[in-house]
Amino acid sequence: MTKIGFALLPLLAIGCTHSVHQVSAATAEIPPGAHVRKVEAEAEQHVVLYITDNTDFADEAYRKLLAQCPRGDVVAIEARNSTSHGFLSFDNKFKLTGWCLEAGKDAQARSDAIVQRAAVR
């Protein structure tokens, strides 16, 4: 029992570990005062014993990001590819952050509505 406890003690002290593999960034011109809205999307894939035949989690996060900005350009996109380690398994994560650049009166109205809701809260 003491042997098991001794073996598990460092594990409890350490906690869960992660590894950020890559950060990618793409910029585009955002005119000063333009109405932009932050959009975020993340997807993950649970892999056991390294067995998997796809990396669709990256495509899923990308689709989710684009779905949040159907009527505008998605600019200044930042992508993070990381892995969260676990017991005989791990989670591949792909997180995308961007800015939805919309033009026109609809964008103004949507942006004002978001600001008003934030003020009420």
């Binding site: 350490i14 676990g86 017991f87 997180k95």
Partner: protein, 140 residues
């Protein structure tokens, strides 16, 4: 005297660290629209190589049973740290988030060119510095 010099050299090498480049990305550079103001944003996190830490720990343990227990702990920790690793593992995965927002704060005009992203590690005994650096130019 020679031993002292040798020990000093070893200590210097150990403390100097070893640099690893994992990923490099460079965007287009447009120098035709005015003066370019350089900026740099760097974030880092401490990584821990638990396997190396356990090996160092074993060196300080005299008894064979102690070494064996540390070896068992090392193997169990390895089973709990399954997965791909770049550099050394860290204890959170959001330390490199929000970099472009910081870039946009540094460059109020929103016109950025020559953006480079570097993912690198500085390896030291047991620990490492996991680093992401963004450099670029702001067109005022």
């Amino acid at each position: 005297m020679r031993v002292l010099i040798l020990e000093g050299l070893c200590a210097a090498l150990l403390l100097a660290g070893c640099a690893s480049l994992h990923h490099y990305q460079l965007g287009d550079i447009d120098a035709s629209r005015g003066e370019l103001k350089p900026f740099e944003i760097q974030v880092d996190e401490t990584g821990l190589d638990t396997q190396e830490a356990m090996e160092v720990g074993k060196a300080f343990v005299a008894s064979d049973s102690g070494k064996q227990r540390m070896g068992d702990a090392q193997a169990i920790i390895a089973l709990f740290q399954f997965g791909y690793v770049t550099g050394d593992p860290t204890f959170d995965d959001d330390w490199a988030d929000g970099l472009l927002a910081k870039v946009l704060d540094r460059c109020p005009s929103g016109r950025i060119t020559g953006l480079s992203v570097v993912r690198e590690s500085m390896d030291y005994p047991v620990v490492s510095g996991e680093i992401v650096t963004l450099k670029g130019y702001c067109i005022p």
